[in-house]
């Protein structure tokens, strides 16, 4: 293609993108088609990848195709391995894509579809993709070192300690909040609980099949497992209609929480091949398939968005979670825009697989764009619902009222008409007894997804199957995160305890395995229990806590990246990481301040702790007071630690720029790649 044609093409992409963003941002008072969001996202990603990531590659990172990567220099056939770039892309995307980009945007849809959409697009292009890309490249140039190791080397021991602590804190809060999402999706749902329960014997069967019958044939057994899961979804309908079975599988939130805690402890302590790995394969298989299916469904069906661009809850009085757009929309949506957790994966397995430095652009920047696209799909899934239905599903009883009549009256008075009959009809269509107070985002996403699918495949008659397929899909990979996350945290704790008493660091020593597994499960179980007992639904306090912790980890990652950029004498381009860093500092510190000190009990933890203290003191109120003080303390500790890293990093940047400190670049020495020679 000649240059003039290329220029014209990119002008056309930019014009189309601007028009689509304009429609998304400016249209008021009438529903818009979801395709406008798809077009806006596609054009923004194309422009971001073509121009911004290329600018970063050329001017800041100076990607060098001749420099041997650790995958080549340290190749051992195990951790370090030269791998095809598309394979690494798929592997990296499968590792970063979790329930976060699906749940966060659904929750933030209480502000309308516009704030979430703009944050997902701008956040991904200018922050999230940049973070993943630069951390991946810097890890490659340091032989695949982890973020905590790089933070220790580049910003000092404090940086390393804070990164380590932030990772543990995030894992604990993350596990609690995703467990709460599953509990809220499955409580009083015999169909859903039956289906998810069946995935445990299915996973065990897959583990035994792989071990005894067809060793290593994972794809084959995943297909078999998937067919069995489909049978379990079908069987769930039968179980929910059988009075005896329905009684067994109709569980309250506390019962489900206890079962999930026991499950996660057992799965973490059991041999990986038996339960954790097959379950992981099954959930990855379902996840990749469902995301692809949803993308096709949205493009083919191009549904209409009924949610307005902005709702009245931009004033901070939202029922799903309290707080204004700034800062709460930006911590509620993390994974679709920027997620600190991604920096762990960009400095984990992925840098050990990349064959050439030039491929980091596609893997680091590109995979995050794909994740962001998943978040756009979640916004669409929430937006296709009538707003009244969306708020009835997502609002806790403590806000809208305990009865169907009270809830629908409250929501209708907000200007989002809904009747008890509408909710009853919807619950009936999806095979549930009720959909009121299903907080957490997962049920609303499942209803939206079922709505999109049922328009094309099977119609309303199979809406219940699609709904339970969606619930199963979310619950399955959330439970995989629970057992895998508990195991990751266990390894980290064992690694630290090994410095105090050596046997505790041995990952094969059972007393250590049981003790550290119990410690981790107890930690997140405590937050989960707090969530299910919270009269405001739990998500109101736990999701912002998770968002703050996750974005604070991104702050640490961007501090490390900025330090390295300044050390590389690219100070004039440091704004590429410094701008998203400044934004995240403004967002997380404001959110943390409000969550701790805001005088409204719906926002501030301390205000909420003071509110019940005014009434009669019972066991429940004293627990509520303790929980809120604990949340406030965790938030404050995280912010103070990250604040210290910021001060330490800024001090270092000034010392380097003013020449008071000698620059020490800790990259592995340059080695000429053999891959280039082989290609002539």
């Amino acid at each position: 293609m000649n240059k003039t044609l290329r220029v014209l093409l990119w002008i056309a992409v930019a014009t189309l993108g601007a028009a689509a963003v304009g429609v998304v941002a400016l249209r008021r008072g009438e529903p818009i088609n979801a395709l406008w969001l798809v077009i806006a996202a596609t054009c923004c990603y194309a422009l971001g990848y073509r121009f911004y990531s290329k600018f970063i590659s050329a001017r800041i990172l100076a990607l060098d195709a001749l420099r041997a990567t650790p995958a080549e220099r340290l190749e051992n056939g195990r951790d370090f391995l030269v791998t095809n770039k598309w394979v690494v892309f798929g592997h990296h995307f499968a590792a970063i894509a979790g329930p976060g980009p699906l749940v966060g945007p659904v929750l933030a849809a209480q502000f309308g579809y516009l704030p979430g959409t703009l944050w997902v697009l701008a956040g991904a292009v200018f922050a999230g993709c940049v973070q993943d890309f630069v951390i991946l490249l810097f890890s490659i140039r340091r032989d695949g070192k982890s973020l905590t190791e790089m933070a220790k080397e580049e910003t000092g021991p404090l940086g390393g300690f804070v990164a380590y602590s932030a990772v543990i804190a995030i894992l604990i809060i993350l596990l609690a909040v995703v467990a709460l999402v599953v509990v809220n999706a499955l409580k009083d749902s015999p169909w859903g609980t039956f289906t998810i329960s069946m995935t445990i014997p299915i996973a065990l069967l897959m583990g035994l099949y792989l071990r005894r019958i067809r060793p290593g044939k994972v794809l084959e057994v995943s297909v078999i497992g998937f067919l069995l899961v489909l049978a379990a979804i079908w069987g769930g309908q039968w179980a929910s209609q059988n009075p005896a079975l329905a009684r067994v599988f109709t569980l309250t939130a506390p019962s489900l929480a206890i079962l999930i805690i026991i499950y996660a402890f057992a799965a973490s302590a059991m041999p990986v091949w038996l339960l954790l790995a097959p379950r992981d394969y099954l959930s990855t298989f379902v996840k990749l398939g469902t995301i692809s299916l949803l993308a096709i469904g949205i493009v083919v069906m191009h549904p209409t968005l009924h949610m307005p661009a902005l709702t009245r809850f931009t004033d901070g009085t939202g029922p799903v979670f309290a707080g204004k757009i700034f800062p709460f929309a930006f911590i509620t949506i993390a994974c679709g825009a920027i997620s600190g957790f991604h920096s762990l994966i960009s400095s984990g397995t992925t840098p050990k697989l990349i064959a050439r430095e030039t491929e980091t652009r596609m893997v680091g920047y590109g995979a995050m764009m794909a994740e962001s696209a998943v978040a756009v799909m979640a916004i669409i899934a929430a937006g296709v619902l009538q707003p009244g239905l969306y708020f009835a599903i997502n609002s806790p009883a403590g806000i809208v009222g305990q009865t169907a009549a009270a809830a629908t009256s409250t929501i209708s008075n907000w200007g989002f008409p809904v009747t008890a009959a509408d909710m009853q009809a919807l619950a009936h269509a999806v095979g549930e007894q009720t959909l009121f107070n299903r907080t957490g985002g997962a049920p609303a996403f499942a209803v939206g997804m079922a709505h999109i699918f049922s328009q094309s495949l099977g119609g309303q008659t199979v809406m219940a199957l699609w709904y339970h397929f969606a619930v199963m899909f979310e619950a399955l990979f959330i439970l995989t995160i629970l057992d895998a996350g508990t195991r990751v945290a266990r390894f980290m704790i064992q690694d630290a305890l090994g410095h105090i008493y050596k046997p505790l660091g041995r990952t094969s020593w059972y007393p250590s395995i049981l003790a550290t597994s119990a410690l981790i499960v107890a930690a997140w179980g405590c937050f989960l229990w707090q969530g299910i007992k919270d009269p405001l639904g739990g998500i109101n306090s736990l999701w912002p806590l998770f968002g703050i912790a996750n974005q604070l980890l991104a702050t640490v990652a961007l501090c490390v990246a900025t330090t390295i950029i300044i050390k590389l004498h690219r100070t004039k381009y440091a704004a590429v990481t410094l701008a998203p860093l400044s934004w995240l500092v403004a967002v997380t510190f404001t959110a943390a301040w409000q969550k701790v000190f805001d005088p409204s009990p719906r926002i501030g933890f301390l205000a909420q702790a003071r509110a019940p203290a005014a009434g009669p003191m019972t066991v429940a109120t004293s627990r509520l007071i303790f929980n809120n003080r604990l949340d406030a303390a965790v938030t404050a500790i995280l912010v103070v630690m990250v604040g210290l890293v910021l001060v330490e990093s800024a001090r270092q940047w000034i010392s380097i720029i003013t020449g008071r400190q000698a620059v020490q670049v800790r990259e592995a020495p340059f080695v000429l790649t053999r891959l280039a020679e082989e290609q002539g």
Partner: protein, 57 residues
């Protein structure tokens, strides 16, 4: 047609990597063992010694 076949090969290779089939094949090559229940057990013993890679939210 060649492009489609190439894309299908890449897709299969990606799935084999994500689902650890490629890792198991490399293990067999490294340890000079034929595929068997014992080899698969040894593969998992080796994997369980290393920290599990994190999975994002």
């Amino acid at each position: 047609m060649n492009h489609i076949a190439h894309a299908a090969r890449i897709l299969l290779a990606t799935l084999r990597e994500i689902f650890d089939e490629a890792a198991y094949t490399r293990f067999l090559g490294r340890s000079h063992m034929p595929s068997s229940p014992e080899a698969y057990a040894a593969f998992w013993r080796e994997r369980e010694e290393t920290p599990a890679p994190p999975k994002c939210c």
